[in-house]
Amino acid sequence: MKTNEQYLELQAYADGQLDQLEGLPPGRRAELERMMADDAEARGLVEGVRSLSQLVRANEPVHTVPASREFYWSQIQRKIESAERAGTRAQTPASPRGFWLRWWLPVLGASAVAVTSFLVSVGGLPITRAFGETAVSDRGSDSSGAVVFRSESEGVTICWLD
């Protein structure tokens, strides 16, 4: 019976990998060779590893794609195109319109709401005065506190909830 280390070293010897083992004491190779000369089990292990290795390498399993050439390729092509589209989307800078919609529209909207709030709360101005003559205002009931502003010329309606 050998030690775990000896089995693994004999395997490494059979595989021609002994030199790769770090910390292998000098003269270990010669020791293993002596062991193989004297011990049938050690010799059998090395021969067994080599014959199994040879057998497996010479008979690598074969598997064929279970799909036609056209079908297999069409799926790959679809995946490539989808990956390219995703990559393009990630890399392409936003169009001017997209940039405007993404960044400036919310900023302008928020500013408009802030200005409206300021004018109404500080100045107590009727909404009509705040937005000039073109504005049509409708003050909601005091209990709800809702204010609706509609500009016909701008085609805009703003609803402000207090």
Binding site: L8, Q17, L21, L45, L55, N59, P61, H63, T64, Q77
Partner: protein
């Protein structure tokens, strides 16, 4: 994928096809896929042991191959380069599904150094007289019975011809673990093939 000038793809060698594919010729790449698809699929199949996964991952490897084609310098053959890609894709998948760890108490014992308590590798012509195709089939069946972790190490060493240190690097384990997994895989494979011999002599 841009439409490009058509060449005589079936007669061209891999180097020519790779050159055309690098300049965006999808038909040249399709020819490469057609030539090597079975080998790439077989690698995925040996590793994953599942037809659907092997199909999906082999296709993913081809997508990566197309995307990274500019990195291929021709230091190895195109087939070797693609094989490396499919193995990495499968390794990633196995890791993602946590299929690369020791799966049983027996395997954990083996990984912590229990091989001396196990029967050493012995093989006395267990497959003598079998037809080549039948032999391949039997070896494949035996490989399927190994755990993913053991089969992967065995495949990288035997089929890819990687040295212990390269197997360790690819899988992300120590050389010691490579050695014990390889030993266990061989012992189990030898036992399974011995069973085949007994089955045939009965």
């Amino acid at each position: 994928m841009n439409p490009t000038l058509r060449h005589d793809y079936p007669s061209a060698d891999d180097v020519q096809l790779v050159g055309w594919a690098k300049s965006g010729d999808a038909d040249a790449f399709e020819q490469l896929v057609h030539r090597h698809r079975d080998k790439i699929y077989a690698r995925a199949m040996i590793m994953m042991r599942n037809e659907e996964e092997a199909m999906d991952l082999s296709q993913e490897a081809w997508v990566k191959g197309w995307q990274r084609l500019h990195q291929f310098q021709g230091d190895s053959s195109f087939a070797t380069w693609m094989t490396r890609i499919v193995i990495n894709v499968c390794l990633d998948e196995l890791r993602k599904k946590k299929r690369m760890r020791a799966e049983s108490i027996e395997e954990m014992d083996e990984e912590s150094g229990g091989v001396e308590r196990q029967m050493p590798v012995q093989l006395i012509n267990p497959t003598e007289g079998l037809e080549h195709t039948e032999l391949r089939k039997r070896i494949d069946e035996a490989l399927a019975k190994l755990s993913d972790a053991h089969r992967t190490v065995l495949m990288l060493h035997e089929f890819e011809g990687l040295e212990y240190k390269d197997v360790a690097k690819r899988v992300g384990i120590s050389i010691g673990t490579v050695m014990s997994r390889l030993f266990y895989a061989r012992r189990r494979l030898a036992t399974l093939l011995q069973g085949l011999k007994r089955e045939r002599t009965q």
